[in-house]
Symmetry: C2
Subunit: 235 residues, 2 copies
């Protein structure tokens, strides 16, 4: 039984008969779509991996693509649970009124560390992260589900926190771009991992590597936030 973490078997969903099959397909889709992509994952693979049969896919989800979209919706749901909390904290702080630079800096470190946890943490990138990345570089219809479901909120929070620290317009391009660059530093340890591992001469990320990655990222983030505002354009 492979699936872990994101895939907490939600017992509430298993009440009705048939929900077990539905859920099993969802989990198999999460794993296989992440590993091989939608096109390369056959309904037969899904049926075997889930312990069901090919006919169950059109029955529950209309089609293979329907299953894929349901998987993406499930990812959004679970993302909320995982990185939602530090995000909510930061959001509440900002909405509650003024937030100091120091607080914003701390919130950024915390939020980005949460992402680093997801991206760096595990030996093998989690299947759902791969799905998200694939949608980023080659968006399908399902990208909207991801973006409006969760990503947009995270982007906004990051940009606003950066804006507070560096004294920028939170709606301006510089805040957005700088937030994106910060986030990218973390992302790189996920998407360009294979090359990194070869350079480190290791098959997987060792604990010593992970520890140093966290420290390097924290230091770099801090350094970047010390850089002053770039654009002083008059309106």
């Amino acid at each position: 039984m492979p699936i872990k973490s994101l895939e907490k078997p939600d017992q509430k969903l298993l009440g009705k008969r048939g929900e077990g099959t539905r859920y099993a397909l969802l989990m198999a889709g999460l794993e296989l779509f992440g590993e091989y992509g939608v096109k390369a994952t056959s309904t037969r693979m899904l049926a075997e991996s889930s312990g069901t049969n090919v006919a169950a896919i059109p029955y529950y989800f209309g089609s293979k693509e329907g299953l894929y979209k349901a998987v993406v919706g499930y990812i959004v749901e679970r993302m909320r649970a995982h990185i939602g909390e530090p995000g909510r904290e930061a959001q509440q702080m900002m909405e509650a009124g003024k937030i100091s630079k120091k607080q914003a800096r701390g919130a950024l470190q915390q939020l980005l560390a949460a992402f680093a946890g997801v991206f760096v943490e595990s030996d093998e990138p989690k299947a759902w992260v791969r799905i998200v990345m694939r949608e980023q570089s080659q968006p399908t219809e399902a990208f909207d589900i991801l973006y409006y479901g969760q990503m947009q909120r995270v982007q906004k929070i990051l940009a606003r926190l950066v804006a507070v620290v560096v004294d920028l317009d939170p709606e301006g391009d510089e805040a957005k771009l700088r937030a994106h660059a910060l986030f990218s530093q973390i992302l790189g340890f996920l998407v360009a991992r294979e090359g990194l591992l070869r350079q480190l001469g290791s098959k997987t990320l060792q604990e010593k590597h992970v520890g140093m990655i966290y420290r390097v990222l924290s230091m770099h983030i801090d350094a970047c936030l010390k850089a002053p505002a770039l654009s002083e354009e008059e309106p």
Copy 2:
């Protein structure tokens, strides 16, 4: 003007009869494998796009996978031509003897700007970049061709330059990880572009965005390089 189309039709390759067909397939593969991935690209698509026929693929390359490997080999060849130059300069400087921190800092900025040119520049990420990224996150047999063909060298140069600037062991993990983090900041504008574009409220990257991205990246790189060495482990 940084990097231009990887796809320069090399006339020298078109001498013999049949080389035109071979080359046409190579170009079609570059485009279609980048756009859809290997599995999702059919031999029919390749034949139509190249103006040839399906039988030409096994004839020249043995199989569709053979064509893919040939495409990856071609990418390495062209990468050498493009980002090779600033890399060679930096390498020669280092091999020639001592290199000052200021020189190393300049070389890093130059080298990373060359990558930014490739990654940020065009509206649509070039097809070959997508192939490289796909191999990073889900390496196939072809990854070796990429890694030992070009990437390894770039990694080494970046790590050594970082080591000079920050006073680190060029073979140590910190230099490698910090170089990787710097590179990632640039990479993020390629792999997470869709989300960024939505945040910017734009269908494509505008010129004003590109300009600001360059400035932000340059500033961030400089800021990160000012951060002191982290590890002071005794041997």
